[in-house]
Symmetry: C2
Subunit: 301 residues, 2 copies
């Protein structure tokens, strides 16, 4: 496995372009003439990595599925991700003024517009999914309603939102590694997991395959957060498009703080190995997922 | 039509109880142990009129549909409505401290929790709909994906959210009656319309019937807002559970200000008559909808 050469850079850039074009299509559907449409467009097109959409597409391709079939799904994932960033950046939450090197939504527009732009992107995600489901010609809309339910559960009060609540509640309070793992699984992990799981639902994956993909996504989700913590200590602010050292300044609970930098790096490696092992049941079709797993801890931004 | 005696008071109280119990069920599903769950529960159970859920059920019953079949749908409508109130009340928007006589969510909890509770209720609405669709045993999940798409479109950046954007943008700026109508159709009308339209979708209503119901809901939606404006001038703050005279104080564009109190009352009557006329194609099964139309302008809160 993974001994063939897989051109990840090209794969990421191709998919990024595909996703960006599809997102443009959804966002320019008559919306940019309004201030709310402009705010939505501004934040979505601010140059994200598109990790969740790409994971979704790579998972679908691993299962023999079609890029185009899961493209709406991948756009919905990015809409939810962007909404969560806009709301997390608000003065009442992290009060961040920069995101990916640009002013955050509430700085560029205003607070009310940022709250509503987040609301609108969350709503748009479900509209995209429901529209796709209604138009689905392959006769099984139940798969799509399952996807909508999975997505809502991952994003909702038992998932991402609870993670954000804990992130705020724990700021400045020392917690142990297990609590930090649960926090991150909720805050970022659940949406990364559903990026893969929703593709598996659309592709009618078997239980075994779903299980393997969940082990994969759960481990890279956590590794992604550990890598984020490491980058906040030793990353390049210019490449990251945001300040570093901020976690320590804010008294945030991080793996770097709990395990030390070397410990955190070792932990991230372990997680990625677990993710790669879970992919052993797949052939070379999973090379994209394998390459993404390595990228998660090797990335510079 | 409407000459029979319809006991609206009893009908409203029965349905309110039914909806409240169903909402309790969704909200107490393990959520009240968390702060976010408590905030969601607090705002949803703060004693609303449940107008949208009741309209949804009344429309379904008019079409020979079943109360229980649209109960999840009516709960989803109330979740979206409550989320919109929580976010509208935020300091960055209307900065209201009282809602239905109680502290608003951000006052009772805090701003971050209120933003996230709104987000969580919006997400929960789609989870309820998707779960219902997935479990739907009557073989047509496409009806449900259509409902989800309708709901998202009504609540989103071309609907309710754009209405809120205009409401903020127009504060203190004089606008004409047409602009005010469009604002209200977006801000409150679209969700009232979809309360009825989604029931029609679930009940597989014909085009003609859908059209009649749309005329009905569009007119009562606008009448509801006109009545709100009138209540803000001459309502009883104790019955309303909120201060009166606030629209004038804030320089809000209202029908009372544009048309005068008598003119606004006349306009509301005209709208209700149009709504009632649209129901002429139905027999006594529509008596609940007829009674609700009258209630919209006769209510004291």
């Amino acid at each position: 496995m993974g001994t063939r050469i897989f051109d990840l850079k090209k794969y990421l850039s191709t998919l990024r372009q595909l996703v960006d074009e599809a997102l443009q299509g959804y966002l320019e559907d008559g919306s940019t003439s309004t201030r709310i449409g402009q705010a939505m467009h501004y934040s979505v097109m601010a140059g994200g990595k598109r990790l969740r959409p790409i994971l979704c597409i790579a998972a679908a391709e691993t299962l023999g599925g079609d890029r185009q079939a899961v493209l709406p799904l991948s756009c919905a994932l990015e809409c939810i991700h962007t909404y969560s960033l806009i709301h997390d950046d608000l003065p009442a939450m992290d009060n961040d003024v920069l995101r990916r090197g640009n002013p955050t939504c509430h700085v560029k527009f205003d607070e009310a517009t940022a709250i509503l732009a987040g609301d609108a992107l969350l709503t748009l995600a479900f509209e995209i999914l429901a529209d796709t489901a209604s138009r689905s010609s392959n006769g099984d809309p139940v798969r799509w309603t399952t996807v909508i339910a999975q997505m809502a559960a991952a994003a909702g009060y038992r998932g991402m939102i609870e993670g954000q609540m804990r992130d705020i509640a724990f700021e400045g309070i020392a917690i142990d590694t297990d609590s930090l793992k649960t926090l991150h699984r909720l805050k970022t992990g659940r949406m990364i997991e559903v990026s893969v799981a929703s593709a598996a639902t659309v592709c009618c994956a078997s239980q075994d395959v779903q299980q393997a993909l969940q082990t994969y996504s759960r481990n890279i989700g956590l590794a992604f957060q550990v890598a984020d913590d490491i980058l906040n200590v030793k990353g390049d602010p210019l490449l990251l498009g945001k300040s570093t050292g901020t976690d320590q300044m804010r008294g945030k609970n991080t793996y770097a703080a709990l395990l030390g930098l070397a410990g955190a790096e070792q932990f991230a490696d372990q997680l990625i190995n677990k993710a790669l092992n879970a992919l052993d049941i797949f052939d070379s079709k999973a090379d994209s997922l394998r390459a993404i797993a390595r990228y998660v801890i090797e990335r510079k931004r």
